[in-house]
Every structure is written in C-alpha cells, then in structure tokens.
Symmetry: C2
C-alpha cells in the first residue's frame, strides 16, 4: 500500500506535504496530477479531494486532503521517525498551534496572492497586477512586523524548535522570496535569519531540487 | 489565576472559544473588550493578541490567541472533563483535522463575508451589498454540496462523534442561519439535520443565551 501523494511539485500545498515527508525520511510515491488538463477537477481525483485542489494523500486505507491536515498527520503518525515537527507538552503545543493558525489565516491571506501575482502569473505568461501586489505587500508587512517581534523571543515561531508552524510557511516563502516582495523579509533581521534557516533545511532542499 | 477569555459575545471567534469551554464545563471569566472604543487595537490588549483581533485567552501563565488554536488547547488540556472534542486515534483524528481545515479555509472564506453582509452590517445600521451576498452564496453553496455528501457518510463532519470540526462552524451558522443565506442550509437535508443537531447542544445554547 504505502504512502501516495497526488499532486505536483509546482503546487504550493503539495510542496508542504513533501517537506513533512522528507523531514520524517519516509518513503512515498508522488503521483502526478495533470493540472493543465484539469485532472484535479474531474473524477476519479474528486473522490480523493472533493474540493478539486492539490494535493491528496493516501497512507494505506487512509485518504486525506488539505495540506496542513496531511502534514499534521505525518507529524503525529510518524512521531518516532526523522525530525520532530510537533511538541509533546500540551501548553507548548498550544503555542505552536497558535502560529500554525497565524500561517493559515494571516500570513496566507497576505502572501498567497503575492505568490500568484509575482510567481505563478509570470510562469504562465500572465501580467502581474501591480496595484494588487502593493495592497498585499502592505498587508504582508504588517504580518511580518509581528513575526519580527515574535522571533526576538524565540528562534522559531512556535518556540525553540522547528515545527509545523515554521514548515507550513516554506512554500510561499520559496515562491516570493526572490521577487520584489523579498525585500519585506530581508528588511527584518530576525525574519530574514529565520527564512534563511528554514529554507536551508536538508528536507526543504530535497523538495525544491 | 484561572481561565480568562478577553472578548465579547458579539464576536464570532469569542463565541467559538466559549462553546469549547461550555462543552468542557470549565469555569472561566469573560473579560469584556470594548470594540467600540478600539480597545482591541491598543495596548495592553495587543500584548495578548498582536493582531488586534478578538479573542485572547489566558490559562494561568499561558497566553493564547487565534480562536481555533484556543479551542484545540481546551480540547486537549481538559480531555478528561465534559464532552470530548477530539479523538485519540491518530488516523481518525487526521480526518477530524481535515474537516477542521475545511472549516477554517473553505467554509469561512465563503461564509464569513455573508455573516458580515447579512448579520453585522444590519446590526450596525449599514447597508448590505447584494452583489457580494450573491457571489458568496454561490461559493457557500458549493461548499455545502460537499458537506451534504460528507454527511451522508457520517453523522458529523469529522466522523461519528461531535468534534471541533463541527463546533468551529457554530458561530457563523448562528449568524447567517436566520438570514436569506439560511435557505442554502435548509435545502440540503443532511446539512440541515447537522445544523439542527449541533445548534441544539446545551453548551451552544449557553453561548447564545
């Protein structure tokens, strides 16, 4: 049976799941989903993810979707393998969970649109909307101000160790760090150090290789 | 020390945290935050939630924000009290987590704007934007089609028992169920039965009383 990831390395959310798998050193099969032909919007893919989004995930009989839920499953189900991505203490894990929520709801709201405008649109030969970029850069700057403050208190967002609260940010950071939005990260010394640190992780290097 | 919730019963995210506390039967103090004077956008509140959003939460020395992270902490830290809101089995919990993510990222994206247009704006004497309502009703209908299908397989979104995957939906459902958007829930028999079931829970009745 084994683990199957249905997705593509171009998809941010697929990258998130691959990062968790490489951190754990778990074997898996990447089953390519052809977005160009809309394979993700048709059966049989819709039986794996009814929202028609990438990725979907199988571990034997278990079928999951939503990349953050998949990464969290990998962290708990394979707790004894590779690098820990969660913490055991309930109060410490609550802090990690706060910053996982911040990523999903605050960071993503500002940065995912920048990834679309600054990375995907040029990739597809589409024109970037500069007004939208400026609006979302302003939003991202406010979020990163809070990250800068947080990262003066602890090395990672969730605490002293690397966790899903950091990992979940990697795909968007990868996409926009080398665009005009990269200056927002570079202008904040703790945020920059954090980005450099988490992007240098061997597991992440495998994802982007 | 005890548990303090900084927020107001008008805030959807505060309601989510109160629902979890009442399910667990835990004593707490609701510390009112005066949104009308912008108390949530100034110190000292910003030291509790740097994003200036409601609610914030204290349990002794532990300080948390992001309502879904708080509800999850309550579920794990007080696992032995009141009604269970999570499940122990890692694979079953992964399914619960999928639907928690669906609530936060898919349902909220469609429905929170409807809550604003159809519930909060009338409350504040502002005019509802019908075009925005129609756009988001169409989005919500697609999400609820997937819920309807899911709820033919299991009584609750996360599985056979009530969990955070259901609870987290309650505040928005409460706000829009008795508006024009209510027809979207009522038109889907399994969704309607699920809404009726979870809204009738004694803990939720305490929140809205």
């Amino acid at each position: 049976m084994g683990i199957k990831v249905h997705g593509t390395k171009v998809s941010m959310c697929t990258m998130r799941v691959l990062a968790a798998l490489y951190e754990k050193g778990i074997d898996f099969e990447l089953v390519n989903v052809d977005m160009a032909t809309g394979e993700h919007k048709k059966p049989p893919y819709l039986s794996l993810n009814p929202f028609g989004q990438l990725p979907a995930f199988e571990d034997g009989d278990l079928k999951l979707f939503e990349s953050r839920a998949i990464a969290q499953y990998i962290a708990y189900a394979y707790a004894d393998k590779g690098n820990p991505l969660v913490v055991q203490d309930v109060k410490k894990m609550a802090i990690v969970t706060v910053w996982m929520q911040v990523e999903a709801l605050q960071f993503e709201a500002a940065a995912a649109r920048l990834a679309w405008e600054l990375a995907y649109k040029p990739m597809f030969g589409m024109e970037t909307d500069v007004a939208v970029v400026e609006e979302h850069e302003a939003k991202l700057a406010k979020v990163l101000d809070i990250f800068e403050s947080r990262l003066t208190e602890s090395k990672y967002l969730g605490g002293d160790t690397f966790t899903l609260a950091d990992l979940n940010h990697l795909p968007i950071i990868k996409l926009i760090y080398n665009t005009r939005a990269g200056k927002l990260f570079e202008a904040r010394s703790h945020v920059k150090a954090w980005c450099d640190d988490i992007q240098a992780r061997p597991a992440w290097q495998k994802v982007i290789s």
